[in-house]
């Protein structure tokens, strides 16, 4: 058995051992081990991908949330502004209406006052004329109470009326 010459017996046994070992290990060990490792690797890969997707979704949701909040704030501001505008409008309209109404009322009142004044003056005039007549009649009655007086007045007027 030289150091450098292969010994057929050992070559035979090595071949046999190696081939049998390969066949048994492949069936008994390598397949389950490699499958398990592959399963784990794929699981980790999928988990990482899932986590990434989840993170992305979360980021999207967060962005959306911000958008919604922003939108809400914008809408609120708009509503408030609109309300303020509406309020101002209403107030303005109310004022205008009030002004018009007031003017109308004033006008009416004025007219009524004028009318009433006229009526009152007319009434007073009538009253006065009545009173004057009354007084005049009373005065006449008193003036013409005596015959002398009557004669005197007639005379005086007759005198005044010179028959020219």
């Amino acid at each position: 058995m030289g150091l450098l010459t292969p010994d057929p017996g050992l070559v035979f046994w090595t071949t046999l051992t190696f081939v049998i070992l390969l066949l048994i290990l492949r069936k008994v060990a390598w397949k389950p081990i490699l499958r398990a490792i592959k399963v784990r690797q794929e699981y980790i890969q999928f988990s990482l991908r899932d986590a990434e997707t989840a993170q992305e979704t979360l980021a999207q949701i967060s962005v959306k949330q911000k958008e919604i909040i922003e939108e809400g704030r914008r809408q609120r501001d708009e509503i408030i502004r609109e309300a303020r505008d509406l309020k101002n409008e209403i107030i303005r309209e109310a004022k205008e209406t009030a002004q018009v109404e007031a003017t109308r009322i004033i006008q009416q009142t004025h007219e009524q006052m004028v009318r009433e004044k006229k009526e009152a003056i007319l009434a007073i005039k009538q009253q006065i004329s009545m009173l004057s007549l009354d007084i005049a009649s009373k005065i006449l009655r008193e003036e013409l109470a005596t015959n002398e007086r009557q004669k005197y007045i007639i005379n005086r007027h007759l005198q005044e009326v010179s028959l020219n």
């Binding site: 058995m1 150091l3 450098l4 010459t5 292969p6 010994d7 057929p8 017996g9 050992l10 070559v11 035979f12 046994w13 090595t14 071949t15 051992t17 190696f18 049998i20 070992l21 390969l22 048994i24 290990l25 492949r26 008994v28 060990a29 390598w30 397949k31 389950p32 081990i33 490699l34 499958r35 398990a36 490792i37 592959k38 399963v39 784990r40 699981y43």
Partner: protein, 374 residues
Amino acid sequence: MRKILCLLICVVFTGTLFASGSEKGDEFDASTLIMHHIGDSHEWNIISFNKGKENELNITLPLPIILWHKGLHIFMSSKLHKIVKIGDNYVLYEHGHFYITDSNGELFDAEGNIYIKNAEGEIIDAEGAVFTDFDKIINAHPLDFSITQNTASMFMGAILLLLIFGQAARGYIKRGGLSVPQGVQLLVEPLVLFVRDDIVYQQIEDQRKADFFVPYLLTLFCFILINNLIGLVPFFPGASNVSGNISFTFTLAIISFLAVNIFASRDYWKHIFFAPGIPFLIKIFIVPVEFVGLFTKPFALMLRLFANITAGHIIILSLASIIFVMKSFFASPLTIILALVMFCLELLVAFLQAYIFTLLTALFIGMAVNKAHH
């Protein structure tokens, strides 16, 4: 640290002086010892006491001898100290070879001289002189398929692999791939992932082809590694030199050669025999070179593993022999330190050579099956 080293060197040199002063008894033959250790044997020596003395005691594990000579003959190696009858013939075991003889156990050379084994177990010629030139013997050899020490050690390695990886696989099956690896799985998983991801997937581009070769390359890696490691265990049942045996590396190289060439793509063969895109005159030289390259690749694989492991064994045994050559136990610190360093290195080499063999096989397979890049 330096002080300790100085002290050790002093001790070693004093030891040498003492040793040189001691009387020279029976010579210690380091090279025989080393060659015996790195070779193969038909029995498994567990331990020897009082070597070369009257009361020498060898505790050995007898191994089955399997011979083929006009039929199959199986017997234990403990019978080998004398001639053994197989069928109609007898077989004589001498210096690692089996010879077919007659019932007297006679050996012949080409000139017709007869040699026989005497009572002391030495082979003597007709004049009684000890005969050692066994290359001259022309007796027929039976085919030897014995379970030698290396074969037994290799079987042990294979069984260990089956136990370790079978246990790990059971863990994966029982707990599923998603659970945290436990126990032996923790040992196996980095190894498997290393071979799969850093060797196979790196070299073989096509994922499906790579997956096809993963079991083979994993087995190859683990088989070489376990035999390297068993070889590093300095006592029974280790110390055999399986992966440093040329038969072992030869077989693995042949299997690697077959794995490369059986599954090679058409592009690969075209590349070797037609060398497309190269001028005709250069083709004349390139094609034979490429063709020879088919065989030099596995040849290099065979020699690299053999040389590395054998060299490691030789160095460690040489270091151990220093003590016996110097005949002083003061040499032991030197031996221990150097042997420690060498064992660390050999541990690295055990992994490295398994890695290189597997990597190169994967590389060659990759070259053969990958799509050509032009």
